[in-house]
């Protein structure tokens, strides 16, 4: 489903990703943990081409993301193609990034209408269904600012789902939330995981990783240090760095 090979990325002189290989199968839930600045978020952002990679390749569903390969060269795809690829990948931001001037329902309908050119008659009931699914059926006409952080993030998840993506990416979805609101967002994500959605979640919630992930990856200094089922990685980590990190957050 997702395949990264030797991904490198630098911001100026800062080498953020130093050769990442990663594979995610259909229906798999991968949780990436690691200290701040380890490159987790950057890695996630390369998977929908919000960040271009400097070297290496990102494939989603067998297709190279953002580039077309001919021989040994990678040619950048025209923006229209990149946008079309992105509609198959849902992205949920740490800061929600809902459109504040649009109502909740308009937020959900915007991309299906304008990026996928689906009909309003089809999209509107779907938006209502998705809002019901995240428990916010009564907030369709509300503006995002009137909602709590947890509610906003649930809307953002519904907005990502509205594109009916093959893959969902979560970038620290609960880090901007008050502690008592974390649970409601994690519940929605757990529900999606049980439903068989393929997803990659960057998070600091180790408990959540243990409960939902089928694979946990530990990242440090731009590399994936180790990767395995939560019971193994979280309880009997093989690497010293993983142990050091876990002893701090657990």
């Amino acid at each position: 489903m997702v395949e990264l090979r030797g991904v490198h990325k630098s911001f100026g002189s800062l080498h953020v990703l130093r050769g990442v290989d990663l594979e995610v199968r259909q229906g798999q839930v991968l949780v990436i943990v690691g200290p701040s600045g380890s490159g987790k978020s950057t890695l996630l952002r390369t998977i929908n081409h919000l960040e271009k990679v400097d070297r290496g390749s990102v494939r989603v569903d067998g297709r190279l993301l953002g580039y077309r390969q001919s021989g040994h060269r990678l040619h950048e795809l025209p923006e229209r193609e990149v946008l079309r690829q992105r509609t198959q990948i849902g992205f949920v931001f740490q800061a929600f990034n809902l459109f504040p001037h649009l109502t909740v329902k308009q937020n959900l309908m915007e991309a299906p209408l304008s990026a996928q050119r689906r009909s309003r008659a089809e999209v509107e009931p779907m938006a209502e269904r998705l809002l019901a699914r995240v428990g916010l059926a009564d907030k369709a006409g509300a503006y995002p600012r009137t909602l709590s952080g947890g509610q906003q993030q649930r809307v953002a998840i519904a907005r990502a789902l509205a594109l009916e993506p093959k893959l969902l990416l979560f970038d620290e979805p609960t880090s901007a939330l008050d502690p008592e609101l974390v649970g409601e967002v994690l519940d929605v994500i757990k529900d999606l995981a049980r439903g068989g959605t393929t997803m990659i979640v960057v998070t600091h919630e180790i408990g959540f990783a243990r409960e939902v992930a089928d694979t946990v990856a530990f990242m440090d200094a731009g590399r994936i240090v180790e990767l395995g089922p939560p019971a193994r990685l979280l309880d009997v980590p093989a690497h010293e760095r993983t142990r050091a990190f876990l002893s701090k957050v657990l």
Binding site: N48, L50, E79, R80, L83, R84, Q85, R86, T87, I89, F91, F93, A95, N97, L98, F99, P100, H101, L102, T103, E110, A111, S114, A115, Q116, Y143, P144, R145, T146, R159, A160, L163
Partner: protein, 288 residues
């Protein structure tokens, strides 16, 4: 002898919590009285002095020639703002472009048109025929399809509208650019992550949010331009200010006619301020 008792806790009436007595501000009342007296003096000076010639003001306020000149003032304002902001938006987008040439040209435009006084620019366009007696449309540096005499093409009205719009565009460009920059970067990312096409991103997501910053500044500019149109009197265009000058040069009622112009400018800018209030409310939706 009894020991002094500890002071009883202040008794609170369960039904009626302590009433609040607001502090008095005697100086505020004195200041208010002073202002009232000054206002009364101003009103009296305006009303009782016959030299203001209020009946002449009333007589000319709705005179056909004055009303026509108000319409021309409005037309010039509308043209200046519409063309100015259209061009200004293009310039702002050029300025923010990753292409160095585009952003440099936009910067240079703003630099040039903000630096030269408006009145000078107007005279320049008005006298363009001195530089280029004929203008033509065709392939750049190639064959020409149409050919015009500059004097026929650029009437005083065109020169005025052009001058106001080009000058306005420089200011509009900066206002629009400021507005675009004020929108949170996360909004662009979210729109890109959702795969929205670039034009849709700009017009549906970014600009409506930028409008919150753009509208108050644009309001200033529009109101400035209503009054700024009075500069085109140098081109002998019968807008409001030129027209009242024509009338008072004929009948000598200088103050009365300046008052007519002042009242009209007040009416126009008041109307625009009201429009601005509603436009701001529209773009403020979704914000507490």
């Amino acid at each position: 002898m009894t020991l002094p008792e500890a002071p009883a806790p202040p008794r609170q009436d369960e039904e009626r919590p302590g009433e609040v007595v607001t502090a008095r501000h005697p100086l505020r009342w004195v200041a208010a009285a002073c202002v009232l007296v000054v206002l009364a003096m101003v009103a009296s000076a305006l009303i009782t002095n016959p030299a203001w010639e209020w009946e002449i003001v009333g007589q000319y306020l709705f005179a056909p020639s004055v009303v026509r000149s108000v319409v021309l003032t409005l037309e010039l304002t509308a043209l200046g703002i519409a063309l100015g902001f259209a061009l200004g938006t293009v310039l702002a987008l050029m300025r923010l472009s990753a292409n160095r040439l585009l952003s440099s040209v936009a910067w240079a435009y703003v630099w040039l048109f903000r630096s030269v006084p408006l009145i000078l620019q107007l005279l320049f366009w008005y006298n363009l025929a001195l530089l280029y007696p004929r203008l033509s449309v065709g392939v750049p540096f190639g064959p020409e399809f149409f050919d015009f005499g500059t004097m026929d093409l650029i009437s005083p009205l065109t020169a005025a509208a052009l001058g106001l719009a080009l000058h306005q565009a420089a200011y509009a460009a900066e206002i629009v650019r400021g507005g675009l920059l004020s929108v949170d970067h996360g909004q662009r990312e979210a729109a890109a992550a959702l795969g929205l096409p670039p034009a849709r991103r700009l017009f549906r997501i970014i600009l409506p949010q930028a409008m919150r910053t753009i509208v108050p500044n644009a309001g200033n500019e529009i109101i400035g331009l209503v009054k700024g149109t009075s500069v085109v009197y140098i081109m002998a265009l019968p807008e409001l200010f030129y027209q009242v000058q024509v009338i008072y040069n004929r009948n000598g009622r200088v103050m009365a006619l300046l008052l007519v112009a002042a009242i009209w400018y007040l009416i126009l800018t008041t109307a625009l301020s009201i429009v601005q209030y509603y436009v701001e409310r529209h773009y403020g939706r979704g914000r507490a």
